[in-house]
Every structure is written in C-alpha cells, then in structure tokens.
C-alpha cells in the first residue's frame, strides 16, 4: 500500500517538473488582450449588434440547459460571450466580441492552414438559425462576434456554395446570385475583397477549389453541365476572369495553381447515378485561366497522360462526381512544404444519389485509400482532406444532439477534433462547398 506522504511527495514532484511549463509568449498575450479590450470598448460605444435580438432570445434556452451558465464560480459579473456546442449562444449585446485570433490562433505564417477541427457551422431550430465558429477542443464562438454582417447573411441565406480558405481567413459566399469573398479577420461590416456578378437565370457560382496555401480560389459559373465563366481571386488582390468557348467540353476537376485548373471531359449526368459509366481513369488536361509565361489565356494543355486510380476502386465506385468529372482537392502538406498533390474523391451510387465514399491520395500504384471507419457506430460522412495524410469525416449518431468531426488517418484510430450541432451545415477549410 502506498503511504500518503510518499504519494503527495510524488505528486508534488510530478507537478513541479518542467513538463508543466507553458512557454507562453507575453507579447502575443498582451496584443490579443489589448485588441479584445479595444473591441469591447468599441462594441459598448456603438451599442447592440444588429443580430443581438436573436442571440438574446436563444440565450434564455441555453441558460436553462447548461449547468455552467448560472455557475456561481464565474469570476466576473458580466456574462461571457460563448457559443456553446449546441450552436446557440449566450452572448449579450454589450459583451465583448471574440477576436479572430480566439478562433484561429496566430500561425507561423498566413499561408499555414488553420488547426484541424476549425470550422463554421449553421444550425437552425425552427426558423432561428445561428452560425458558430467551431474550434478544436473548445467551445465554439458565435460568428456574430467577428462579423455580425456575415453572420446575418448566413443565418438567412445558408452556407450552400460557401467555401473557406485553408487558413480560415477568407470566406466565399453566394450573395444575391453573385459570389463574394470576405476576410473574416477584417472589421465588422468590412466590404468584400472580391465580388462577382450574378450569371444568367439557371446559373450559379461554385468554388472549384483553393490552392493549398490559401492564396487563390477558383470560382466557376455553372449552367447545367457547362461552365460559362471562370473567376479567380488571389489573396494579394489580383483577380482575373475567363469565359471559355461554348464548345470547350471540358469541366474543372480542381484548382491546379493560381492560373490553371485541371480539366477533363465529363460523363453524361442526365442518366441515373447507378447507370453512368464508371470512371476509374481519365485524361488530364489543364486550362489556362490567365496568361502565363508560356501560353495565353484559354490555352488547353493536353498532357496525354491518364490519371488511373481504377485499381483502388471497388465494385460500384466511380471517380465521376456530381458534375460528371472527378473532384480533386488540393490538400496542404503536413510539412507545409510543396504541393502535396491533393486527394481525389471516390463516389458510389446509393438509392439514385452519389455518395462520397472514400478519398484517394496520390495516384496509380502509389495511391492510398482513406476510408470511413466501419467498426465505429453512427452514420459517417466524408468531408475533405485535412492534409496529405488524413481526411476529415463527420459522425452523427441517431438521437444525439451533436455531430463529431474526426481526423481519419490510415492505420490509426479516428481522432476526435471538434463537435458541432446535429443537423447542421458544416464548412471546413479547403472544402469546395459546404455540406
């Protein structure tokens, strides 16, 4: 039996070890604190945010549910601005807003991807919707703290077609038929950094994808199975548009770099998903969206090679996605070095619909499948690569009020990253469109 004094001595020794040093940067703590204080003063000065009515209304519900909300241990008299995991918030109108750094802590560079588990979700109860900023291992924050203007837009318009850059600083939204790119780290009410006009009736803008360092996003104006126009926004402020000829016959697979998209010929999507030709390999071409050193805008570079992933497909699976072409997503390299090559989505037809069933990193014999867990309970859905070695997947369990976001890495147990309310629309960095 262990002697109590000896036990206490060992506990003291352990908790006194250097393992418990935090190595915090005082400059960072001071700057973040100063910014939050200034924002609080500004918030008090300008009064109640425009969407506070909804938030206060939902706060009453949360206060009744969360044991911590009437916590006598709370050290301050002012209510804490918190978006709980339930998606509702306890923000009051004059409470200081969270800063962008509270959601996405400063990284070594602006190019670095946000921490896995960072996300935006929209959750609705009846006609009341809230937008949360999910953080790994912590309570979510309300988007109203950062950008009440964008929160109001998403609460009403939803996240369909939205896209979030890898570093979580740029958010693309469909607005009034057009498309806008906003900086989430800008001041509330800041105008968009890029805006494209609506297309003709029946068309809509979609994000083809981000280059992995969040430097640019390629948008495509689709009308049926045709792209009417491409538009590219580069973070340094550049932008360019390209209107492909009507007979081009090639659709984008994914953003290749700032000025190029990978393209291929689509399969006919007018047939039911289960009856479409299986695509396991496809010819790769590249379309210049702007002039490059060697070629003009609109130049199509046929490589002559085929991406062949057929050996990694199972019966009933295909690479042809909802637009009839493969979907390739550039994933940040875990080492944040060069292009990781991204991952290609694998689909299977279930009850007439295409279901994203796996992802393949690499190509040919060096390709590797990333699958959803089969042993764990719940309903799983794939989302997007997190880096070159792992993917994000969501698990919802019947009767549960939350959905879990996991990192899936080959040969390892799924790692729980964060949670968001069940029945939400989720948007995580790099995802071409919200799901």
């Amino acid at each position: 039996m262990t002697d109590t004094d000896d036990l206490i001595r060992r506990v003291r020794a352990e908790l006194s070890s250097s393992r418990y040093d935090a190595e915090l940067d005082p400059d960072r703590v001071l700057s973040t604190t100063g910014r939050r204080i200034r924002r609080r003063k500004a918030a008090i000065g300008i009064g109640v945010p425009t969407v506070a009515t909804v938030l206060i209304a939902s706060a009453a519900v949360v206060a009744a549910e969360l044991p911590g909300s009437d916590d006598p241990a709370r050290p301050l008299t002012t209510p804490t601005p918190t978006a709980g995991i339930t998606g509702t918030t306890t923000t009051t109108g004059t409470e200081p807003a969270a800063a962008f750094d509270d959601w996405v802590p400063p990284q070594p560079s602006l190019d670095a991807p946000a921490r896995a588990g960072t996300m935006i979700y929209r959750s609705c109860q009846g006609k009341t919707c809230t937008v949360g900023l999910g953080r790994p291992g912590q309570d979510a924050l309300p988007l109203t703290d950062l950008r009440p203007d964008l929160a109001a837009t998403i609460e009403v318009g939803g996240l369909a077609g939205a896209t979030l850059s890898w570093n979580a600083r740029l958010l693309g939204l469909r607005v009034a038929g057009g498309y806008e790119i906003h900086r989430l780290d800008a001041s509330p009410g800041a105008s968009s950094v890029y805006k494209v006009a609506p297309g003709p009736p029946g068309s809509q803008w979609e994000a083809v994808g981000w280059t992995e360092a969040s430097r640019s996003v390629v948008l495509a104006l689709y009308q049926g199975q045709r792209v009417l126009r491409y538009s590219v926004f580069v973070e340094d402020g550049q932008s360019f548009e390209y209107q492909p000829p009507a007979n081009l016959g090639l659709l984008p697979i994914g953003a290749d770099d700032t000025k190029t998209v990978a393209v291929t010929e689509p399969v006919d999507i007018s047939r039911p998903a289960a009856d479409r030709p299986v695509v396991g390999s496809y010819p790769q071409s590249f379309l210049n969206l702007a002039d490059t050193d060697g070629a003009k805008q609109g130049f199509v570079w046929h490589t002559g090679s085929r991406a062949d992933l057929s050996k990694l497909l199972r019966t009933g699976e295909t690479l042809a996605g909802p637009r009839g072409v493969p979907v390739r997503i550039a994933a940040p390299s875990a080492a944040q070095t060069q292009n990781s090559g991204g991952m290609t989505a694998v689909y299977s037809a279930e009850e007439g619909s295409l279901i994203l069933s796996a992802m393949i990193g690499g190509s040919g014999t060096s390709g590797r499948r990333y699958e959803l867990p089969t042993s764990a309970a719940g309903q799983w859905s794939l989302l997007v690569p997190l880096d070159e070695n792992s993917i994000a997947a969501a698990r919802s369990t019947p009767g549960s009020t939350v959905t879990d976001l996991f990192r899936i890495t080959v040969g390892q147990e799924p790692q729980l990253l964060s949670r968001f309310p069940a029945e939400s629309t989720a948007l995580i960095p790099g995802m071409p469109t919200a799901q």
């Binding site: 039996m1 262990t2 109590t4 036990l7 206490i8 060992r10 506990v11 003291r12 020794a13 352990e14 908790l15 006194s16 070890s17 393992r19 418990y20 040093d21 935090a22 190595e23 915090l24 005082p26 703590v29 001071l30 973040t32 604190t33 100063g34 939050r36 204080i37 609080r40 549910e65 969360l66 044991p67 911590g68 916590d71 006598p72 241990a73 709370r74 050290p75 301050l76 002012t78 709980g84 995991i85 339930t86 509270d102 802590p105 790994p136 291992g137 912590q138 309570d139 939350v402 729980l416 990253l417 964060s418 949670r419």
Partner: protein
C-alpha cells in the same frame, strides 16, 4: 519610459500563470487558451485588482474558476477531446526514467475539481479556507474532495504498480 503596470504584471507572471494552467488542464494548448482568457479577464478588472494589491492571487482565482466552468460545461456536453495520452515511445522513455508516468496517469483520472484541490493545496500551498473561497465551496467540502482525490490517486498508483 515606464511600462504599463498590467503589461509589467503579465511579463513578470505569465510563466507562473502558464504553469498553473498546465497543472490544472494537463494540456499545453488548453493551458495557453486558459492563460489568454485569464489575461483578458484580468485586464478588464485591472484598476480594481491593482488597488487590492494581489493581482497574482486574483489571476489564479480567475483561471481556476474559468477552468472549472469549462470542465463543467464539457461534462454536460461530453468531453470535446479525449485525454491525450503520451505516445508509446514517450511512455517507454518516461517509465524507464522514473515513476512520474504512474503519477501522471493517476492524476489524469481525477475529476477536475479533485485535480484543482490537489494543485491548489499541494503546489500553491493554499489552506482549505482559501481553496474553498477560490472554488466557491465550503472548507469541509474541500477536505472531502481532497480525501477522495488522494484515495483515487492511491488506487491509480497501486493499479499501475501492480500491473508492472
């Protein structure tokens, strides 16, 4: 030029606050968030706290209560993240070096309030009345929590040592 007193305080005491946060949470990332939030709360109350003359004690109290509040919320909604265990190779190295791994694992099994009472009592050397004030419980409750914490630690250590 004189530094702002709040800045001076943060520069002088952030290492101690950070250590307190890691001891409570057992996780450096969470500790960094906790320390940041504590600094913000402290800044808001600085004029009052500075006059009282014991800003460090106030900051530790704020931090401890923030930690317990967060943990209570997590208990309600389910823990966001499983307790992160050291990697296998890490465990091997540490176990070979000393018996701290056993203690560490036993500490990780404590409830947040038990761990808090252990940290405040045996690392910060606070008496039961002060601990009771910090965690807003009665001194008798503090004693009860400590007793259960030590029993849990003893069980955890015994279990690990038997399994070796």
């Amino acid at each position: 030029m004189d530094r702002d007193p709040f800045e001076e305080f943060i520069r002088a005491h952030l290492p101690a606050l950070g250590r307190h946060a890691v001891r409570l949470t057992g996780d450096r990332d969470e500790a960094a968030d906790l320390a940041q939030e504590t600094a913000y709360r402290l800044a808001r109350a600085w004029n009052r706290v500075d006059k009282d003359g014991n800003a460090l004690a106030y900051a530790r109290t704020v931090m401890t209560r923030l930690y317990l509040t967060r943990r209570r919320r997590e208990q309600f909604i389910g823990r966001l993240l499983p307790t992160l265990a050291a990697s296998t190779s890490d465990l091997d190295q540490i176990a070979a070096a000393d018996d701290r791994l056993t203690i560490r694992q036993a500490l990780s099994q404590l409830t947040p309030i038990q761990r808090t009472v252990i940290v405040l009592g045996y690392l910060d050397d606070l008496d039961d009345h002060t601990i009771a004030d910090v965690i807003r419980r009665r001194p008798a409750t503090v004693r009860s929590i400590r007793k259960r914490a030590i029993a849990a630690l003893r069980d955890g250590v015994a279990e690990k040592e038997l399994s070796r």
